[in-house]
Symmetry: C2
Subunit: 248 residues, 2 copies
DNA sequence: TTCTATATGTTGCTTAGCGAACATACAGAG
DNA sequence: CTCTGTATGTTCGCTAAGCAACATATAGAA
């Protein structure tokens, strides 16, 4: 039996989002009053495929999943966005609409900013623009690696990768997530996740119960994962190192 | 028996690359003398994973494949770049290095530009920058769709998608490509491609022989393909419509 | 406490695609 | 014309993961 993770000791603070923290320099500071704090419940759909983007989101304690949903209803996760990034890159990339659905994968807090405001800041160029583009580049790496992972790795490996990606974006070592939902994200059957999770639990790597997963042995989890996790992590660290002061 | 496609009636011309054509406006025109025409043989590696980018490439009659190669040697194609785009986006995205390998998938011509020159133009902002970012957005869509396709679709469907993507980037309806190479791109076994191609040939959709594939019935090919091809095509058309005059 | 919706466990069957080992067939060199 | 390397065809067994149809267990509501 697992306790519900206590994720709310801190007061919400824009600086909990690393990208936002790095952005809030110089003139960008004037946007601070325009940041709107919101709470994101599990499953909330922030963008629908093909829809227009009214805001961009900076998750702090929440995690957003970029999902592509196919004609027949099957889905697959393209990338995740947590406290390291921003949701809504197609806004400044010029797309206006997004081709994927954005769903809250882990409930928590976020800050949002009106689309127009971010676009204006972006088009000013300079460090803000450069940082946003570097983040986009990191996100591209994540997508590319997801494609590779989908092609070559087993459900268990992908589950490990997915858990690690989530863990890196949370303060806790627990996450609230049913196997059914994980299966949706990975684009596999629920039974496949059940089996893989069962194996991981038997080996003392994770502990789970009705929608709560606790990672007990992170080192082993990394070993069971495919290389994809490390590849993405290294690239994020390279492109967005300490964040503070890199926006130069 | 198929004749080798005659792809060289035209004199090489930068305007054969749609993106370059759209870029060569106003001040960007001064870059024209810096464009270097080159011929790209099949299989040539333009970027190695992790390497530094000395040039960006604008394919005209060639097609470049972005491949990710895993630790164990297995590979998968992330995206393709042809006469609609530019190779080397990580340059202006701020990455400096690329995380995937770029290989010539279809021999032909291209123009290249010194990395520094493109970076300078990009950082000027304005229409050039906007167009490059829109193209990047389209490329992101292609990567995301590749991820989905890898998860859910059969080898045959993916082969159809791949043929269509290649076709769109060529003037001819024939391509020079062995099944072995296609298998590498798709990240599947050669035998799988042989079987799928055999079926397509039996139904009169394609015709092939020792490294030459001719698409006979494009309409049927589109029907056999998964939705992924159309999704990507629609997004490219939306983001980069007629090209001429959109860089505003 | 009991009930119920939801989460997880399990099993049998089927199939796509892998790995490996081999057969054939064609193109271009000599 | 023959030889040879390369491209394609075929087969066997195997496994991961799909589909389907259940059984069980538990948290929270009543």
């Amino acid at each position: 039996m697992l306790a519900t993770p206590n994720l709310r000791p801190q007061t919400p603070n824009p600086k909990q989002n690393h990208l936002l923290d790095a952005l809030l320099i110089g003139e960008f500071n004037r946007l601070l009053p325009n940041l709107e704090h919101i709470e994101l419940p599990l499953g909330k759909v922030l963008y629908e495929s093909g829809g227009t983007l009214s805001h961009v989101y900076f998750p702090t304690t929440s995690i957003i999943s970029l999902l592509y949903v196919m004609e027949n209803g099957a889905s697959a996760e393209i990338a995740v966005v947590g406290n390291e990034g921003i949701l809504g890159i197609s806004l400044f990339m010029g797309g206006e609409t997004t081709s994927s659905r954005a769903v809250v994968q882990s409930a928590g807090h976020a800050y949002r900013l009106k689309a127009q405001l971010l676009k204006e800041e972006f088009s000013r160029g300079g460090p803000v623009q450069r940082l946003l583009l570097r983040y986009t580049q990191a996100l591209i790496t994540q997508m590319a690696q997801t494609a590779v992972c989908n092609r070559h790795h087993t459900v268990e490996q992908q589950l490990c990768r997915w858990l690690l990606l989530s863990l890196d974006r949370l303060v806790s070592d627990e996450l609230s997530m049913t196997q059914e939902l994980i299966a949706n994200m990975l684009g596999v059957r629920r039974e496949g996740v059940t089996e893989a999770a069962g194996r991981l639990q038997q080996e003392g790597i994770i502990l789970y119960s009705r929608g709560h997963i606790k990672v007990v042995d992170r080192a082993k989890l990394e070993k069971r994962s495919c290389e994809c996790y490390q590849v993405v992590k290294v690239e994020f660290d390279r492109l967005l190192p300490a964040f503070h002061g890199i926006a130069t």
